[in-house]
């Protein structure tokens, strides 16, 4: 019994919980941005230090003009199905307005699960102490400025600065 207890204690001591996550979002579709936001918010809620780095098309997730109107791809997405599980014909996905309608439906379903719109989600992450960054190279490439970005964005940083933020032996970098 004692040994068992000692073993249990040992396991507890050896457990090394995650202390920091650095999440990279490089794609701008609805599901890619939300994957980042859900993981970031979940980390903040667990008391894990959280840095989120938006780059390339992922910048849509923190750009004021775009962040609340993200789309999910209706073409080239084999997992896309109509209600009832019927396959979604690629030809249909290419018709004007279809992607907007499908994306609207997705947003509605997420709202039912209490998933907030992107701007509010970013606020939730920073309210809990998470930090949001934009990639300098991508900002220059898309000709954006700090004022185009959500007020929740802390700074525009280089990839070198991002890696500096990823220090610590209990840190994980996650690429969504």
């Amino acid at each position: 019994m004692e040994t068992q207890e000692a073993n249990t204690k040992k396991v507890v001591v050896d457990k090394k919980p995650l202390e920091k996550v650095c999440i990279i979002c490089a794609k701008g579709s609805l599901e890619d941005v939300y994957a980042t936001l859900v993981m970031a918010n979940g980390a903040v809620m667990e008391g894990i230090e959280t840095n989120v780095f938006f780059t390339f098309f992922g910048l849509d997730g923190i750009t004021k003009k775009q962040m609340n109107r993200l789309h999910t791809a209706t073409t080239g997405n084999p997992a896309m199905r109509m209600p009832g599980g019927i396959p979604f014909p690629t030809m249909l996905g290419g018709l004007p307005g279809v992607e907007t309608a499908v994306s609207g439906m997705m947003r509605k379903q997420m709202e039912e699960l209490d998933m907030p719109p992107v701007d509010e989600f970013l606020e939730m992450i920073t309210a809990g102490g998470g930090t949001i960054y934009a990639c300098k190279l991508a900002i220059d490439m898309f000709k954006l400025e700090k004022k185009d970005l959500s007020d929740e964005v802390e700074d525009i940083i280089t990839i070198g600065q991002f890696y500096e933020l990823c220090d610590g032996d209990r840190t994980q970098i996650i690429f969504t």
Binding site: G42, M45, E46, G47, D114, M124, G128
Partner: protein, 104 residues
């Protein structure tokens, strides 16, 4: 698992993670003891949140920090200040309700 709270000598059933299994066994003294184990000193504001969580759990409504933030009791930022590093996890534990199953 049975847990005895040292100060109050109350015996309650808890899960492996230390969440009360029967929320009716909860009282304010237990809340204070769980909170001090976590390292939180409870104020009236904490109890407003705790009571809100208990009410919603009794009504079988799923809980998220967003919902608490919209309750009019605290903002999400204040919720994090009251229960650092575990706004929903620690508040639920102190409120004597099951471990939150929500991802948001």
């Amino acid at each position: 698992m049975i847990k005895t709270f040292c100060k109050t000598q109350i015996e309650v059933k808890v899960s492996e993670d230390g969440y009360l299994e029967d929320m009716s066994q909860w009282n304010e003294e237990i809340a204070h003891e769980i909170a001090s184990e976590i390292g939180i000193e409870l104020t009236d504001k904490h109890f407003e949140v705790i009571n809100y969580l208990r009410e919603k759990t009794e009504a079988k409504e799923p809980l998220t920090i967003r919902k608490v933030g919209k309750s009019g009791i605290v903002s999400i930022k204040e919720l994090y200040q009251l229960f650092p590093k575990g706004p929903l996890k620690y508040s639920s534990k102190i409120a004597g309700i099951p471990k939150p199953t929500s991802c948001i």
